[in-house]
Amino acid sequence: MTVLISMINTSATTLLVLMGLAIVLGLMHIVNLAQTGFMAVGVYTGLEIGPRLGFWTGALIAAVVTGLLGAAAETLLLRRVRERMLETMLATWGLSLVLTQLIQLRYGPDSRVMATPLHGSFALFGTTWQKYRVLLVVAAVLLVVAMWALTRFTRVGLRVRMCMADPDLAEDSGINTSLVRQTTFVLGCALAGFVGVLLGPISGISPNYAGNLLIPAFLAVMMSGRTLHGLVISGVVLSIVQVGFAYWSKPAYATVAVIAVAVVVLGVLPDGIDVRRFRRAHV
């Protein structure tokens, strides 16, 4: 039972982290290796603000701060290497180093803890559930549902889908695609900051915050075949593998197992997990 709960919790964490990555990758073809850097900036902002103005205010301000950072990075750096995937990866990787080390300069390398805004636990199905962790699961589900609803039912979502499907045609339909792309990147970064704070109370906080979450999230994005359901399936599968290995074998092997699963899945399904993949063959 504890394993199951742990799997659910890890899935939630992974989904929270990978959504930001996936939006930015899907729309801008930017592999944002600075995602954890933004999460770290977010969580330290939360640490500063939280005790004074409350946890949730801290989370919102963190989102604003990382959003602004994202806007600056997009305008000053990433725009210059647009559509060159390797260059954006290296640039965001450099950015991640700079952010992490700046935090270390300011706050030192020591681990910190963040107070949880929701204490206590309750019993259900013969086991105890911590309220805050349940809240995170709910948040992850809400995020996925919101993304689905947003892209499916709103004009903003249609705009985003148009840009993802065919940027040229979106331009021909009167959409300012570069504005949409910029906004998306900023939103992805803001989401990273917000999620950074959300995960604060359940994690040890150090400048290398969330470093261990980046790789599973990226592997999941890689496996997903660029669809929302693919993302969810990949995130959950990899989380289950990770927790399962950590529980029945050694945590160290879990990191290797996650990579192996991703590579094997992509070996079998080169287009990733996408039930509609039959339409997407290339010549």
Binding site: E87, L90, L97, A252, V258, I259, V263
Partner: protein, 597 residues
Amino acid sequence: MSRPVAAAVAAMAVVVVVTPFLSGTYYQQLLAQAFLYAIVAVSLDFVWGYAGVPDLGHALWFGIGALSVGHTTTVLSDVGLVTEVHGSAGRYLAGVVIGVVTATVLAAIVARLCLSSRRSNDFYIVVVTLALATAAVTVYDQTPGLGGGENGLFGFNLPGVSSLGWYYITAAMLAVTVAVALVVVRSDFGLLMRAVRDNAPRARYLGYNDVNVKIWVFTAGAAVTALAGAVFAMMTGVANDGQFSFTLATAMLVWVAVGGRATIVGPMIGAIVMSLAGAKLNEQFPAQWTIIEGALLIAVVVFIPGGLLGPLVRLTGRLLARRHPPRGRLLAAASAGTGGPAPDPGDGGPVIRIRDLVFGYGSLRVLDGVTLDVVAGELLCVVGPNGAGKSTLTSVITDGRLRSRGTIEFLLPDRRLGDRPAPHEIARAGVGRKFQIPSVFASLSVAEALLLADRRGALPSPWRRSAAVEVAPSVIDIVRIAGLDGRADTPSSDLSHGLRQGLEVAMAVAARPRVIILDEPTAGLTAHERHDIGQVLEHLRDIGIAVVLIEHDLDFVIRVSDRVAVLHGGRVIEDGPPETVRESDAVRSAYLGTAVR
């Protein structure tokens, strides 16, 4: 070796020999470490700069080398503390060998998994290499019995070697590595590495197995790095998780990026300077130093793609290497016999027999039962409106793995092909292809591109640098007709569109094909250039090659072709001499919209 090169090498040798006497043991140790890092930088430049494989977890190989030496020469307690050092020469040697072999085998597996997948791209490679390096650190930390866990292993220095000794050993190793690297990148194999980096599909359709080339280079780079790691561990007596870490892997990237990718010497200098500076600064300002590294990485990648030292190194290299003639000066027609056998004059039999070929995905059928013969010594034109499946037909013929149904038989005498051969196998068997959009190797000169084409997939020597490029006389004719003579040393990236079209045709012919498939060789050409290309095609047909021309300029088609096949809706709706096809109602309606009502 030319005189300036010899002088430069001699000067460098003097500096290297003298330096340790001007500094204490501290700097000797630092420099020795810097030399080992420089070896790593050169190997990463090989992998990333020349073969184009971005290995973000290159520290993994270094760590494996170091750990292997540490593990074989120490005895650990249950919690992973070093209790005893077992320092026999045999154990050190075993440590080095095991480290290098492990890294080589693992790298080969990783490379095969990463590079041979159809999904393979930079994103895939970056994520997997990054993930492996992270996983390695975690495994290391949580397995104390392996390498002492988070404490690492220490105290197992190779006894009896002084700092000065290490200084000279590492300097010699670096000299050998750089010398070998320079020879290889200047060799014919170096040419192939650049070709694969610039344009892997093109290399594939010239008969080279691009995936294998990348796998070899990646594996070799890992082996060299593991050796450097092993020596590093013997010298310092330290093995720990830091040698696997992101931090070190990033530093390696920075050395190469700052030094200038694909220059060998640049990354070497970058590694020495940056690691010395880093060692000094890191003691006082560890965080600041990493910030500088990160900022440098961003700056070089975004603002100075050639690297800080790249332009300087290239310029110096050009000045020093003036004695190496560019290959193109010696572009010449091979004397009879050495240019490879000329194709048999056409005997009228088919060389490719296509039956009921189907290709599609989902409910969409791009090719819907194509039946067609390609005959030696005949110029066959495949025409059809946009979206008729012309380019798809080319792809499906030249890559046996693509088709959904139907058969393609290659009746080529000199090689047996399987049922669904890979593109490079088809190319080696004698089927040449010219892409619709001219597809050349940006950094290769005309002569270099022709040299590779002429080899038709035979692996070039990693040491020898062909001074002269000898190709079949017909290729020289094409070079002349296409206006490429006198441009043999021009990099392909500097050629105009028309000249690139010409180069593509010349490359396809240089491979001495029996069948040559040309996808719209006239697109974007002026009337005059079209005429010249037409002459070339007729010449090829006359020497017995089966020429297949995908084209939609009907004037051109009717002027040059012997036979025309009209593709429409994924099927051949007409197949016959040009005059017949010209009169055909079906063709008129497909082309002019003057529908027959």
